[in-house]
Amino acid sequence: MAVITFEYPDGTSRDVEATAGMSVMQAAKTAGIDGIIAECGGDMVCATCHVFVKSKELLDHLSPPSITEEQMLDFTSERRRQTSRLSCQIPVSDALDGLVVEIPRTQV
């Protein structure tokens, strides 16, 4: 179990309890987080699950993006940053407890 915080561009945020084995996208969808649209259901073809990872240590802890994720990050609706990830490609584990991700303005 890990608690993940989704932050909105207007400064509000929501905490979500996520179970290991899901992706961060699935945790968000299950909790009904606005802005994680995830139209392709996790197949890395829609880029509507884009987030900015705010916790530096946790970002470094994640396994790096695959080639496909890397390429899709060039086609997100809000321009990618160093901290960009597709949330469908981040597996939840207990180590992610306290993860904070920001939802791009263009997705809300």
Partner: protein, 398 residues
């Protein structure tokens, strides 16, 4: 505009309700679904969900609270039975009627069934709904040998998952290759080769005579040439039939789908059709009528119609795109292949990354890509520019 009634709570119908509220549509929204659950996404059903159902809640397009908070009157298990256009009313199975100012048909498609001796619902599995995927997953856990009838996208995706789960898999197909209506020969051969390397058997150009059934469980599939292929699980994925019955009953024009114009409006100015059930002229195909079955088509048509209802858009013309994941292969199609396209290969099939460019008069009509997401995305941008160039009224917004 007081009340929009949407029949069909799938990808398109649900997205329309969501988009209308996002655009602050002030009237009533009634969303009628005939399944017993919240609207959900179908693509994972033939892929990840068959292996692991733990993400079941994540399939939902929106959670239950959303419909309450946004004042969307979503009704599960509530099939619409008929439409009375003169009274602008929809009759429900319960006998109740719901009146509309605008009506949207988002009824999708249903699976074509196999009508051969011994082919009853219990012995032959189908895959369209979450419940069917759930039952298929349980049956896979009991099975050892699987026969898939039909080498379309769903049949091929299922074959990949079944093989990855360690089952013996045979795919039987009438045509001489897989996915023949949607992709080029080069792409079919590449994907089939991978399936074969994983241990899947194919029977192309094969006809089926019937089934051997014992105690309602399939034992074997009998081919026309006399052979029989053992199977303790049979999945039929032999195409679909658009759900046009309501439209036909209401006297609206249909032709392998519900006919709409470029505003997604039927012959009746207050009735629209979107998603898998709608047939419409697409500017990228020179106005040829097409019916697409894809998430992109369902979602973009829904978003467009929400804008149109709010008076913010006039013509639907998004770039079509589609994907299919099999093993770690990612097949993507941008655009709509035409019947007279010239095909051109680039990249290296041996390296597992290539594309097939379709063109007519030198102009790109569609791009099939294998494991090349960047090329796919660039082709979509290219096709958007084509829409602008051919003077599509709302192309700049696509």
């Amino acid at each position: 505009m007081d009340r929009v009634v949407i029949i069909g709570a799938g990808q398109a119908g649900c997205q329309l309700a969501v988009s209308l509220r996002e655009k602050n549509f002030p009237g009533d929204i009634v969303l009628l679904g005939d399944e017993g659950e919240l609207p959900y996404q179908r693509p994972p059903l033939s892929k990840a969900y068959l292996r692991d159902a733990s993400g079941s809640d994540a399939l939902r397009i929106k959670p239950a609270e959303f419909f309450v908070e946004r004042n969307i009157d979503f009704r599960a298990d509530t099939p619409a039975e008929s439409i009375d256009r003169s009274r602008r009313e929809v009759a429900l199975r319960s006998g109740e009627t719901v009146s509309y100012d605008r009506l949207v048909l988002a009824t999708g498609v249903r699976n074509r069934t196999v009508t051969l001796p011994n082919a009853d619902a219990k012995s032959i599995a189908y895959l369209r709904t979450r419940r069917e995927a759930e039952s298929l997953r349980l049956r896979m856990a009991q099975a050892r040998t699987v026969v898939v009838i039909g080498a379309g996208f769903i049949g091929m995706e299922f074959a990949a998952v079944a093989r990855q789960s360690g089952l013996d898999v045979t795919v039987i197909e009438q045509a001489d290759r897989s996915m023949s209506r949607a992709v080029s020969k080069i792409m079919s051969s590449f994907i089939e080769a991978r399936h074969r390397a994983e241990g899947v058997n194919f029977e192309f150009g094969a006809g089926i005579q019937g089934f051997e059934i014992r105690q309602s469980v399939a034992q074997a599939v009998c081919l026309n040439d006399g052979r029989s292929i053992p199977a303790d699980l049979v999945l039929a994925a032999v195409g679909v039939i658009p759900n046009t019955d309501l439209a036909e009953g209401a006297g609206l024009r249909t032709r392998n789908g519900i006919l709409v114009d470029r505003t997604l409006t039927t012959d009746d100015p207050v009735i629209h059709a979107i998603g898998d059930c709608a047939v419409y002229p697409h500017p990228l195909c020179g106005g040829r009528e097409i019916r697409l079955e894809s998430v992109q088509n369902a979602s973009d048509q829904a978003r467009f119609l929400a804008s149109a209802i709010m008076g913010e858009a006039t013509h639907y013309d998004s770039v079509p795109w589609f994907w299919s994941d099999q093993y770690d292969m990612k097949l993507q199609i941008a655009g709509v292949p035409g019947p007279d396209d010239i095909h051109q290969l680039s990249g290296d099939p041996i390296a597992g990354q290539f594309s097939v460019r379709h063109s007519t008069d030198g102009r790109l009509t569609a791009l099939e890509t294998m494991n090349q997401v960047r090329e796919h995305m660039l082709a979509r941008n290219d096709l958007k520019r084509t829409l602008v160039a051919i003077g599509s009224p709302s192309a700049s917004r696509v």
